[in-house]
Symmetry: C2
Subunit: 363 residues, 2 copies
């Protein structure tokens, strides 16, 4: 277990906000971005938290993320939005668009938005949580860099395209699905590469297109574009359902990149030092269009209790509902969380350039 350093959440938020302000984001945009990153850390999704600060800084310096971008409303109806992010911060355009979706859904009952020319927007679930906070159903999808091989193909062509759906559940915690459509994200291979542990057959393929057990080899191939990549949920074969994960990944890509007239598949991150052209799809649905908020809350409570009461498979300890682990982590990490020492030192080094420091919490 790598060393971990405790940090106060409020201090960390102020630090990350200050770093983004120094780099050139407005105070408002810096706060939005910091909040999205911290939400990931609090929820235990460290791969999408402040560990990415260096990458955002690099992308801003390289012109992948353009701080002078002003998001443009390309099309608007009572129930829909098409937004062009013009290469700005993914978190900012997504947060602002979700706010508009929530406002429009208050009038129309629902709103769907497709966003083009954006950048990495953090955890998909952040925007779903915004809808849940208003007692609405939230939808958040994004495409990503092409790391996944279509079923029967050799090369990584499509993203780990994530999908998140959140449904309010009354006295229970909301149902909050937030998943990549690949079996695992790249970060999981990095963990197994460090441990030098064999990876399951359904995770990734080598340069011939055959399932690989060697995480480091797959990562190296991806870096050098030598073939192979991550596998869609379900693995390499139709026999194990891999074509379903592949179909879901393309569906997410269509809603994000096709409906917005943006980039799909290997069109994202196609040119270094240019905007990544990542695309998103956000949505808000008012349960009052259907059975109504009270009924939906009550039925969701019953459903979640049914799942919790399920008899356990031998050797298993608990049946979870989507999002439950992350909600519990967020409750544990409400005021204080721990960062990997490496992450702590890296973000502190970024801060020092601007005269900022995040002190370890010694409490």
């Amino acid at each position: 277990m790598a060393e971990r350093i405790p940090v106060g959440v409020e201090r960390l938020f102020d630090f990350v906000t200050a770093v983004f302000s120094k780099i050139g984001l407005t105070e408002t945009d810096a706060r939005i971005t910091a909040d999205v990153l911290l939400a990931a850390d609090k929820r235990g999704i460290e791969s999408h938290g402040v560990a990415r600060l260096q990458r955002y800084v690099d992308h801003i310096e390289q012109g992948v993320i353009r701080l002078d971008a002003k998001a443009e409303t390309v099309k608007e109806t009572a129930v829909s939005l098409v937004i062009d992010g013009h290469g700005g911060m993914g978190q900012v355009v997504s947060y602002n668009t979700m706010k508009r979706c929530i406002a429009k859904a208050r009038e129309s009952g629902l709103c769907l938005a497709s966003i083009r020319n954006s950048n990495h927007y953090g955890i998909a679930g952040y925007y779903t949580l915004m809808a849940l906070a208003e007692d609405r159903i939230g939808i958040s999808l994004t495409n990503t860099a092409p790391l996944v091989v279509p079923t029967f193909a050799k090369d990584a062509l499509i993203g780990t395209n994530a999908l998140s759906f959140g449904v309010p559940a009354g006295k229970e915690r909301p149902f909050l699905l937030d998943m990549a459509t690949s079996t695992v994200p790249r970060g999981k291979l990095e963990v197994f590469a460090r441990k030098e542990t064999a990876i399951p057959d359904c995770w990734a393929t080598d340069e011939t297109g055959a399932p690989s057990q060697e995480a480091a080899h797959v990562l190296n191939n991806l870096k050098q574009r030598r073939g192979g990549g991550l596998l869609p949920l379900g693995g390499a074969r139709e026999l194990t359902g891999g074509h379903k994960g592949y179909g879901l990944a393309v569906l997410v890509d269509i809603l994000c990149g096709v409906l917005s007239q943006g980039a799909v598949a290997n069109e994202t991150y196609a040119h270094a030092e240019h905007p990544a052209r990542v695309a998103h799809f956000l949505g808000v649905i008012d349960p009052d269009l259907f059975a109504g908020r009270a009924v939906v809350a009550q039925k969701m409570e019953q459903y979640i209790r049914l799942l919790h009461a399920a008899q356990l498979a031998d050797g298993c300890e608990r049946v979870y509902v989507a999002g439950e682990k992350e909600y519990e982590a967020a409750e544990r990490n409400k005021t204080r969380l721990t960062l990997q020492a490496k992450v702590f030192h890296t973000i502190n080094a970024i801060g020092k350039k601007y005269g900022l420091e995040i002190p370890a919490d010694s409490a």
Copy 2:
């Protein structure tokens, strides 16, 4: 390979329509139901085709399906419908609701419908195809009998809950995803049980909750409710992504059974000789809300061509797009298809009770 008997599609349609008429469906409803069943056979999804005729007949006789049911509009807005099927034919209420969704989407740009108290509605993709025929995006979800074990649970509690999305693609065939959220449907276990072939670890669990290689054993357990069942897409473990398939299954259940104030999880098919209380969710989205029909068609063409042009994994022959295999089968089976001899004789025996016969096509 079991013996197969060629049958003219038009004759088969007339025969199935006549059988449903004799049983008590109106001429219109009989034609709708026959068309849904034949669409499955034409598209090569035999498990959902006329092979199910006996089951529909049984369900009508047993009171699972109520022919005197009149579907009721529980709630209606410009963009949504809640429908109560009151235990009638799943195909009829779904067809009629999708027609209304299409009409409403012509005005509002989109319409979503949640349907409760229905019955088995055939292939999910049929209703998606209705939207595609109007150059619109189609959505069709359904819950099913509880055959699937939640991740870490012992007993089958949730359905193989299917989801279908269709997107028009200009000169290319539409993208048409139509999948159960379990790794495989029950029918696939039946095939492997007959062949006495071991099933992969990600398909099903035994009565202890451990992955089973014995299809016949799992099927027997399911029948006798002795524990175990089908696995969600991704298999039994989080390591292989099983929690994602489980999350998707619950999401489908929520949109169908919760939003309609209907039945979810093990509330469907809970009482023999009573309506099955299956629930559906249908939707139509006009691409003109977003980048527009022409742009979406053009970008979809490009995307599909990109996938088709992908370099193949060693030993693989072709990269498919969702729905492609089924479209090709439908083109092959446009006027004539073959039925398994057993299915042919079974449906003929049903017909004979009403003085109807479907002659084998000797052409």
